[in-house]
């Protein structure tokens, strides 16, 4: 029985995914390093508008996800919406839900469309890990604030005199859980151990990710979603593909890499984890009848979605195991009806743990299900690789995975697609899309 509120086939009210576009994903510090979140977002949105022949005046709103906040532009979505291609009246807001931020943007838009608040909207996300803000220490900040409030020059000198040499060391935000202090990598390492995921299994998944992505790049299936970057500085050679994908990598090469987070007994390496990445992605969503009236052929429709959460101290990245059954139940579907699965790959260990969880009675019961979802057919999973190879700009990944899923589902003429995204804070996301 269908319990989803998300419109229904024949209602004309479904949320249509018209198309998605993204920048090539670049390892941090490479060809996108001069562009911030706003610039990356503008590139994706501009190309999306052009490719879909969209009338910018029809856009009701824009929402964008990003994880590392900008101090200078606290609402980057609005800055993106203020690009000259769009009318100034496109309202915009920024969302943050860790690695599922762009998913949050997309589901926000879906909600707005279903509520009748909007009919045409752009959702996306961007992240620039080349432009992480470096902060002053607490001591230094306190002294500066005190000095700025000082009433006499003497007070000012006294405030500044309180600065100690250690206060001058800048603070770089770590990708760590505020509750547990655990870094993302340490969490993945812990999950590998708890779930018995071997180094070999992780490396095999990483290898498949690279080879799938390389294949998708070579035959153009993956690059179809990518806009061209025309660098303003340095080499003028246009960039049309992700630069983290390694077509020539081998199991032997991956096996040589040392574990990063547990050098003695660890299994998580730079090779089987997603790299720090810059990139932006955007998706155009419309109410079904409005899209049809505009003569557009949507790639797919959102059938259901679900978010879930668990204790970050337990298995930080295992919440998709709770979200996926919920999304499927809301869609009124079972896993065997799904033609294609896109899983965000933060770490190979996480993907394998999630897959294991899908088959586990214990996890099924935690999700409120009587029996497990079952095994995901690997021939339907991440066919063009995933974030391990393609890269993972936190804020953008959700829009990238959505785009990849709907494009490949359309190409294969499948009916249903499932995507999952794990996120910091013990959060998980799953969404079911349908065609026709």
């Amino acid at each position: 029985m269908r319990t989803s509120p998300l419109g229904g086939p024949g209602s004309g009210q479904r949320v249509a995914i018209i198309d998605g576009v993204r920048t090539p994903f670049a390892k941090a510090g490479t060809f996108l390093k001069h562009l911030g979140v706003i610039e990356l977002g503008k590139l994706a949105v501009s190309e999306l508008i052009h490719r879909t022949d969209l009338d910018p005046a029809s856009v009701d709103l824009l929402t964008f996800g990003t994880v590392i906040p900008s101090v200078l532009a606290p609402n980057p979505a609005r800055e993106i919406a203020l690009m000259p291609l769009l009318p100034k009246g496109v309202q915009a807001w920024t969302v943050s839900r860790a690695c599922a931020s762009a998913n949050q943007a997309i589901t926000d838009v879906a909600d707005q469309i279903l509520l009748g608040h909007a009919t045409v909207a752009i959702a996306g996300g961007a992240e620039s890990l080349s432009n992480v803000p470096i902060l002053h220490s607490r001591g230094f900040s306190d002294a500066l604030v005190a000095a700025s409030r000082a009433k006499t020059p003497m007070q000012r000198v006294q405030s500044l005199a309180a600065i100690r040499p250690k206060d001058l060391i800048p603070v770089t935000p770590a990708i760590a859980e505020p509750t547990t202090g655990e870094t993302m990598g340490q969490s993945a390492e812990k999950m590998a151990k708890l779930n018995g995921i071997t180094r070999e299994a992780q490396d095999a998944l990483a290898l498949a990710s690279h080879h799938g992505a390389a294949q998708g790049t070579a035959d153009g299936r993956l690059t179809a979603e990518i806009l061209s970057i025309f660098p303003e500085r340095g080499s003028r050679t246009p960039i049309t593909a992700d630069n983290g994908i390694r077509a020539d990598t081998t199991a032997a090469q991956l096996a040589k890499l040392s574990p990063v987070f547990d050098r003695t007994y660890g299994t998580v390496t730079a090779g089987n984890a997603s790299p720090l990445t810059d990139g932006g992605a955007a998706v155009l969503l419309m109410r079904e009848d409005v899209a049809k009236a505009a003569g557009l052929t949507p790639k797919a429709y959102i059938r259901s979605y679900a978010y879930a959460a668990l204790d970050p101290g337990e298995q930080l990245l295992q919440a998709p195991v709770l979200a996926a059954p919920l999304a499927l139940r809301r869609a009124g579907l079972t896993l065997d009806q799904i033609d294609l699965v896109e899983m965000h790959e933060a770490f190979a260990a996480q993907v394998l743990s999630n897959l294991q969880g899908f088959e586990s009675q214990r996890w099924a019961e935690r999700a409120g299900e009587s029996k497990p979802l079952g095994a995901v057919d690997r021939a339907k999973l991440n066919l063009m690789g995933g974030s391990v190879a393609i890269g993972h700009p936190f804020g953008a990944t959700g829009a990238r995975v959505t785009t990849t899923l709907v494009n490949e589902l359309a190409r294969r003429n499948g009916q249903f697609g499932l995507m999952t995204v794990c996120a910091a804070g013990g959060l998980g996301f799953a969404m079911v899309v349908e065609r026709a």
């Binding site: 022949d53 000259p84 061209s228 303003e232 246009p238 049309t240």
Partner: protein, 719 residues
């Protein structure tokens, strides 16, 4: 009075507020009637002892006073006539300056020419800082100098250097800069303009603000140059040298302006004003002024004429596509982005798109370098040009301009490809300079949607656009192309489809004859120098070097094929082209260029390519000028006779803005009118006896001369 009047008066608590709102006009301007009305009000205020001070404010948003109504200049019969009008202006300004009632001007919008002269005479100048609020003395652009005291009051107010800069260039000064210069006293928010003006008027009346006071912020250097006789002499001499070098001595208003400014410091105040009036009178009667006024009227009339029946629907173009990312395509994309118009920028390979985008950025960066735009505006503009190697994003494009390689086959392919992706009502414009539009339209399933948009290189600098229509082109297609051309700041003429259209067609015999002069042994530099002296911005060989000899050669061949013996082939030109000298882009052409691209003079090697060897023929500058100019003028008349251009007006504008035909000569048709058609015919016939083809006067011209007709009415408004 029952008729609507320009001024209205209200008096509040001893302060009179005069509101200037000329009925039936979009801007406020001074005509004799308006001045009379002003004078009447001034007398009224002077008499009314209850009025202590006055404010002048405009009732038209966006304009304060746009200057004198230049229609009145057409009525001057003599230099004395014009000088008298100037003196009349002086009297009114003097009254404002020294009358009992001090005046505050409250400026919102353009404050130009006589408007600025009025403001300079006022006791206090208040302005708002909006983009439309600009100050300038544009008289020089009409071959005149300010005639209502501007050359006297401006240098006294802001110093000789800054004043000369404004008077000699006619450039616009924004409020912020005007405040820095001391041209205005204060900037306020628009909503406070009236209120603060009244307050300042009261303060003037109470003596809290002295009527005579310094408004400049002074540096030691500016004091040394502006406030000492020696300093001013240096500034004036340098200005004269620079201006003469730039203008070639063809614009008498330039030395006159400098003389007038000098007179502001040379003797008594009244002698200064008398000098200004005398010089203004002389200039108003000059042929230069007459022709520049003609161009003003002609361009104004052209702006109202889309070349199609009135009421023709214009497509709402909110996004364009440019196909072909070469220099021209990039230029078109850049000027569109400058106007905030999104561009889909397509070429066959992304590498080519990248090169084109680099050119686009170069053009846009000029604005950034000159601080005309902010970094943010620059990035916004760059972001408007979206590169692609596929035909995605063409589904909503209502205007595409193709600027691909000049090859009919390539153009045909592009036309067919475009029609697969464009909406059926899109306009397909081609930027060809050599291929007839009808030939290109042969590949089209919708030839009525095909039109020529012939831009000139470099697109961001050249003001002209030729819109080329075929017999099949639909009126709304023409209207859309014209409208778009105007939006991106071009002066647009609509011409009929024929080889070379208009501009290149009249250029062809000019260039060919320049080549023939080489065959006859005349030196390259003698020809270039003579044509510059005639008033062209560059000589023909400099022009060829800039355009590129390959392109010039190709275009010449096409024109020769189309027009037979009117375009005579030049042996020397052919040899220089065949020698592979490409012009500036190849580092050598008729001139040599050093590694930095700086021109080093005529390359002596060129003379070895002359058919007559190193033999040199000396020909007077006048003889050279007549040879080249008459070839061009004769062809221009043929274009009118053939209906390529719709009117002498379009022909003159095309020549001035497309080729740089000397503006002070008005254009080829104005040149014929000024010289006399009969005289032109006899000069042509004399040249035809020796040189044949290009000089044989057309029947049209002969009939025109026989009937003693002129192309323009000899008196009154020219167009």
């Amino acid at each position: 009075m029952t008729e609507p009047t320009a001024l209205s008066l209200s008096v509040e608590d001893g302060i009179a507020v005069l509101t200037f709102d000329l009925p039936g006009e979009s801007v406020n301007k001074f005509s004799p009637a308006v001045i009379e009305e002003f004078t009447g009000y001034l007398a009224l205020l002077e008499r009314d002892q209850a009025v202590r001070a006055a404010v002048l404010i405009s009732g038209k948003p966006g304009t304060f006073i746009a200057g004198a109504d230049i229609d009145q200049f057409l009525a001057f019969r003599s230099a004395d006539d014009a000088a008298q009008a100037s003196a009349f202006g002086h009297t009114m300004m003097r009254r404002i300056e020294t009358g009992r009632v001090p005046l505050v001007v409250a400026v919102e919008g353009a404050c130009l020419g006589g408007g600025l002269e009025f403001a300079l005479a006022a006791g206090y100048r208040l302005a708002v800082d909006t983009p439309k609020t600009v100050f300038s003395l544009p008289e020089i652009k009409l071959g005149l100098i300010p005639g209502a005291g501007g050359t006297q009051r401006l240098p006294r107010r802001i110093g000789v250097q800054a004043a000369l800069d404004m008077i000699l260039t006619g450039k616009n000064v924004r409020a912020k800069k005007a405040k820095q210069l001391g041209l205005i006293d204060e900037i306020v928010h628009p909503s406070l303009l009236r209120e603060v003006a009244i307050r300042r008027a009261r303060e003037l009346a109470e003596g809290k603000i002295p009527r005579i006071r310094e408004t400049r912020r002074r540096t030691t250097m500016s004091r040394a140059l502006d406030d000492t006789a020696v300093g001013r002499a240096i500034v004036l001499r340098q200005a004269r040298q620079l201006a003469m070098k730039k203008s070639g001595g063809n614009y008498p208003a330039i030395p006159a302006a400098i003389d007038a400014v000098r007179s502001a410091f040379a003797g008594s105040e009244s002698a200064g004003y008398a000098t200004e009036a005398r010089l203004f009178g002389q200039l108003a009667m000059s042929s230069v002024c007459k022709e520049l006024m003609f161009l003003f009227y002609a361009t104004t009339a052209l702006k109202k004429d889309a070349g199609v029946p009135e009421g023709t629907v214009v497509a709402k173009v909110d996004r364009i596509a440019v196909v072909g990312s070469g220099f021209m395509g990039a230029g078109i994309a850049a000027v569109s982005a400058q106007q905030g118009i999104p561009v889909r920028f397509k070429d066959t390979a992304l590498e080519r798109v990248a090169a084109g985008l680099a050119s686009v950025r170069d053009v846009l960066r000029e604005g950034l370098t000159r601080k005309h735009i902010t970094r943010r505006e620059y990035e916004d503009r760059v972001g408007l040009v979206s590169g692609t190697a596929s035909y995605t994003g063409f589904g909503r494009i209502l205007l595409v301009i193709e600027a691909v390689f000049e090859d009919l086959g390539v153009k045909h392919t592009v036309v067919r490809e475009l029609e697969q992706v464009l909406p059926a009502d899109a306009v397909l414009a081609t930027n060809t300079s050599t291929i007839p539009i009808a030939r290109i339209a042969e590949a089209s399933a919708r030839p009525e949607r095909v039109i020529g948009m012939h831009f000139f290189s470099p697109v961001h600098k050249m003001p002209l656009l030729e819109v080329v229509v075929t017999p099949k082109t639909a009126p709304e297609v023409t209207a859309t192309a014209v409208e778009f051309g105007r939006r991106i700041g071009k002066t647009v003429i609509v011409v009929n489809d024929a080889p070379g259209f208009y501009v290149n067609r009249i250029l062809a015999p000019y260039i060919a004859e320049a080549g023939r002069l080489l065959d006859e042994g005349v030196r390259v530099e003698a020809i270039d120098r003579a044509m510059r002296a005639f008033g062209f911005p560059v000589g023909p060989f400099t022009l060829i070097d800039e355009v590129g000899l390959d392109i010039a050669g190709k275009s010449g061949a096409i024109m020769a094929e189309a027009f037979g013996d009117r375009i005579r082939s030049s042996e020397a030109l052919a040899r220089v082209v065949a020698a592979g000298r490409l012009g500036r882009k190849g580092g050598k052409g008729f001139y040599g260029y050093d590694e930095k691209g700086k021109r080093t003079g005529v390359d002596r090697a060129v003379y070895a390519l002359y058919p007559g060897g190193a033999r040199k023929t000396e020909l007077s500058a006048h003889a050279i000028q007549q040879r080249l100019v008459l070839a061009m003028v004769n062809e221009a008349v043929r274009c009118l006779a053939d209906g390529v251009v719709r009117s002498p007006r379009d022909g003159d504008i095309g020549a001035v803005f497309g080729i740089g035909f000397p503006p002070f000569r008005g254009g080829p048709f104005r040149y014929i009118d000024a010289t006399g058609a009969g005289e032109i015919v006899s000069r042509l016939e004399a040249l035809a006896a020796t040189h044949g083809g290009p000089y044989v006067p057309s029947d049209f011209l002969k009939t025109h001369a026989l009937a003693s007709r002129t192309f323009y009415p000899p008196t009154g408004k020219p167009v």
